[in-house]
Symmetry: C2
């Protein structure tokens, strides 16, 4: 895909994604009426974003695992007819609380960056 | 300051800041008519942001050093009457190019997150 990407660009993209992916994943799981496995989450992300989501599917799995380890998600493994068992994730009460806080931090950070870009862009 | 902050919150904030601080620093240096040293940059950030900038001064220095190592900034050390010599940073041509690309990535990522938050927030 972006194998020739400039190293500084890759670093920036990676850093920016590290936080936003967690926020997006948790938001999708909070609003879902049922537990979701990784591929379903990836598809929902793609569906919301026609231009090609800036998040690669492979980056979701370590984030899901980390969020489960930290009590934001719970999971259940179910057998699949078409392949290996699937791990279905649900948001926990703690996850809902954390999501509220993260959303506030996101909005504040977004406004901060926008202020700098606009003030200096004239 | 936020010594009692929840570890998941700290991690999220740190990840989100990693990318945005680079973007903000580079933007401020691009628009400055003169080289700036760390404290001046911190003051400009504070000035743009009345509510308390989500960026601590100490986090700026390693980012400035890293950007210089990668050719986005150049620096000159000048003696100071009031303390140790100061390192003044300027943006390089390469830094200007990188800033254009980073800004595009920022806008895309911001729109992506906003889409998810809005679509799921109704």
């Amino acid at each position: 895909m972006e194998t020739h990407e400039d190293p500084m660009m890759r670093k920036f993209r990676k850093e920016l994604n590290a936080g936003t992916v967690s926020l997006v994943l948790l938001t999708i799981l909070e609003r879902s009426s049922e537990p979701l496995y990784g591929y379903q989450i990836a598809k929902r992300i793609e569906g919301e974003w026609q231009q090609g989501a800036p998040v690669k599917q492979g980056t979701l799995y370590p984030v899901l695992r980390s969020m489960e380890e930290n009590g934001l998600l719970s999971s259940e493994v179910e057998p699949s007819v078409s392949g290996p068992p699937r791990k279905y994730y649900s948001i926990t009460e703690r996850g809902r609380e954390v999501l509220k806080e993260w959303t506030i931090v996101w909005l504040k950070t977004r406004d901060f960056v926008e202020t700098v870009l606009e003030e200096n862009g004239g």
